[in-house]
């Protein structure tokens, strides 16, 4: 019943939006992709890249290094999309630092790990390319100026069976993005245009191949619109010819209020995500329009470790993953009870949180723990969390319960049972794996107690267009590559299956970006 009213209301809203969009002619509802015979090209390049993240810049750098004239189009004022706010963690299977520190790894082991996290629905041939070419891609990134912390033991990320992750110098994707953008821009005939939005593919006269793009210069993304892609009419139209091909690297759609909700109606329009504002589906939809095959579109990975008390990714993910979740508990504020294994995979936990939030959207669960649950290396984050109010500290459980309106007696009972079960060496009802061999209570009853409110936030869209191992986009009409169209990065689907392991996105984006730049 409830669900039906929701979808009816949505249908009305979407319908209304569609109408408004058509009236303002941001995009014409009926328009097919224009043909080269219908347009006049303003400028000509060898390669046009859509998007300036890891995938786009790797593609552009490789193509530019081959001597091709490359144009990169970026709709935002900022360069680098999600890549420039990313944590800079790059899984490089079988890398030199592993060898130096005696860590045995292989492409096969990497594939096994990825398949386990991806629930076996991964496209294995894509993982094989990453497994084989990650170190070489890493070296290419370094050649373009990217800076990493090398010569030390790689970092061990959750879900990986060995330590294989190398982190950038400043622990941000910007240590890859800034130098790579500069690398391309320095090469003759190459250009990066910000605030320039890709609108449409321009097709050959026979409609078979991609030969250019339609775009708008001086475009200002408007985050206040429900759908910038459908509603924003700003900017000046331009046509760019691509002699060799177009590379779609427009990233994921975790910030697309309309499209993500169609895939997963639990994600409210006003729900925050960890992504940058420009992570929308418009460019991907244009590829579908000319026949690209969609894969795994409704697998949207959501971060169960985020907080509604700050915007974006924030500090909560660190404080929960390397803190409160490890030895503490997450409880339903309405009854003071645990409701999930706080150390389960991302999807299991996000689903459990949504069960509560769908019943009462205001009843954000609360994660609770004591000092000892925090890994020593996140002391700075603990301080920041408290200072910014994302995390709160209470001397007693009564004070904590009162603050979040949790029934105090029930909360105390939950923690009592949790502590006793762990100390008795028994498995708890949710089979939490971090409670083994503890000699003392996981939650220190002396306090003080730390707490963070939880809210799943869309983080990574697993799905996208289907590409082959040469980064060519596959057509659903012919089952063959669409001539002139390549894609790489989060806009592609299948590689990671149901769920991406941490630090594998950089590997995927840079490897297939480079592959696209080689083959275009």
């Amino acid at each position: 019943m409830k669900q039906e009213t929701v979808s009816r209301r949505d249908a009305l809203k979407l319908g209304a939006l569609g109408l408004a969009g058509a009236m303002m002619a941001a995009t014409n509802a009926m328009a097919a992709a224009p043909k080269e015979t219908e347009v006049k090209f303003d400028e000509e390049y060898d390669v046009i890249v859509i998007g300036s993240g890891f995938a786009g810049l790797a593609a552009a750098s490789k193509a530019a290094e081959r001597g091709l004239k490359v144009l990169i189009l970026e709709k935002m004022g900022r360069v680098g999309g999600n890549s420039v706010i990313n944590g800079g963690a790059f899984a490089v299977p079988n890398n030199r630092d592993q060898q130096q520190f005696g860590i045995k790894d292989s492409a096969d082991l990497f594939i096994k790990d990825a398949l386990k996290a991806g629930l076996g629905i991964n496209h294995v041939e894509m993982l094989e390319v990453i497994g084989k070419r990650a170190q070489e891609t890493f070296d290419f990134a370094v050649k373009c100026g990217a800076k990493f912390q090398t010569g030390k033991k790689p970092t061990w990320f959750g879900g990986h069976s060995v330590a294989r992750t190398i982190v950038t110098e400043n622990m941000s994707g910007s240590a890859i993005i800034q130098p790579m953008a500069a690398f391309v821009e320095k090469l003759p005939g190459c250009k990066l245009m910000t605030r320039t939005k890709f609108d449409d593919f321009v097709m050959s006269a026979d409609g078979e191949s991609v030969v250019g793009v339609a775009a708008r210069e001086n475009y200002r993304f408007n985050k206040k619109l429900l759908s910038d892609d459908m509603e924003n009419t700003g900017g000046t139209k331009k046509f760019f010819k691509a002699r060799k091909g177009v590379i779609l690297a427009s990233g994921g759609f975790s910030m697309d209020k309309v499209y993500r909700k169609l895939q997963d109606p639990r994600i409210a329009e006003d729900q925050d995500a960890t992504n940058h504002d420009g992570a929308t589906a418009g460019a991907m939809l244009k590829a579908f329009q000319i026949g690209a095959l969609p894969v795994h579109i409704d697998w949207i990975q959501q971060g169960p470790w985020a907080s509604p008390d700050e915007r974006g990714f924030g500090v909560a993910p660190l404080l929960t993953q390397q803190g409160l979740f490890v030895l503490g508990v997450a409880v339903d504020v309405r009854n003071g009870k645990r409701f999930m294994n706080e150390m389960a995979d991302r999807k299991t936990r996000a689903d459990a949180e949504y069960v509560i939030l769908r019943e009462d959207p205001k009843a954000n669960p609360v994660a609770i723990g004591t000092e000892k649950t925090f890994a020593p290396q996140i002391a700075h984050a603990v301080e920041k969390g408290l200072q910014t109010g994302v995390m709160k500290k209470f001397d007693t459980l009564d004070a904590l319960a009162a603050n979040y309106k949790i029934p105090a007696a029930a909360l105390k009972e939950t923690i009592k049972v949790y502590n006793e079960t762990a100390m008795a060496g028994k498995e708890d009802e949710f089979k939490k794996q971090t409670l083994k061999n503890l000699k003392e209570a996981p939650i220190d009853m002396k306090g003080p107690f730390y707490a963070i409110r939880l809210q799943p936030k869309p983080h990574h869209t697993m799905g996208g267009v289907k590409i082959n191992t040469k980064a060519q986009v596959i057509s659903g009409n012919t089952g063959k590559p669409i001539p002139g169209l390549f894609a790489a990065g989060e806009v592609t689907g299948g590689t990671h299956g149901a769920s991406r392991l941490g630090s594998c996105a950089i590997a995927d984006c840079l490897v297939f970006g480079m592959v696209a730049g080689e083959n275009v």
């Binding site: 004022g77 900022r78 360069v79 680098g80 420039v84 706010i85 400043n170 941000s172 910007s174 800034q178 910000t194 605030r195 985050k223 940058h276 504002d277 008390d309 700050e310 915007r311 974006g312 990714f313 924030g314 920041k384 200072q387 910014t388 109010g389 994302v390």
Partner: protein, 146 residues
């Protein structure tokens, strides 16, 4: 353009100083070449305090955009930098903030690349784009965007 503006700035400063010395009457006499601006327009397009107190005129920023205020356009980075020198210069002035990587003119994510109007607006309240994702940090990191 840069040179001319720098010179002009000196002029503005001298003018400003003179005004200060002579008294407030002087400021009521607009320079002869100035575009006529109605009180209404001035109200519709108020200047930031830091610019208003220099008695900047519309055309100081909307240079070469004709004398019809209705047709004025955004002035872009070049407009701001014609007086404020260069992005490097602006980054250096806030260099003390680099220690914590929170220099808005040399950000950890973007270096010096951001457009001024990701944060600064002239006729409306400025809005710091870092707030999009650091809702709680920005007030600790830096002042309100002037």
């Amino acid at each position: 353009m840069c040179n001319k503006k720098t010179l002009y700035l000196v002029g503005v400063f001298l003018f400003f100083n003179a005004m200060y010395l002579i008294g407030s009457e002087v400021s009521k006499t607009p320079p002869a070449q100035e575009v006529a601006v109605s009180a209404e327009l001035q109200e519709k397009f108020p200047l930031k305090n830091h610019h208003a107190k220099l008695s900047l005129k519309c055309a100081d920023c909307h240079e070469g955009q004709g004398d019809e205020p209705e047709n004025f356009q955004m002035i872009g980075d070049e407009g701001c930098l014609s007086c404020h020198k260069s992005k490097q210069y602006l980054a250096d002035r806030l260099k003390f903030m680099d220690v914590l990587h929170v220099n808005p003119h040399n950000s950890i994510h973007d270096g010096q690349r951001l457009y001024c109007d990701e944060c600064h607006f002239e006729h409306q309240k400025s809005e710091n784009m870092c707030l999009n994702c650091h809702s709680n940090d920005v007030k600790i990191w830096m002042k309100d965007t002037p």
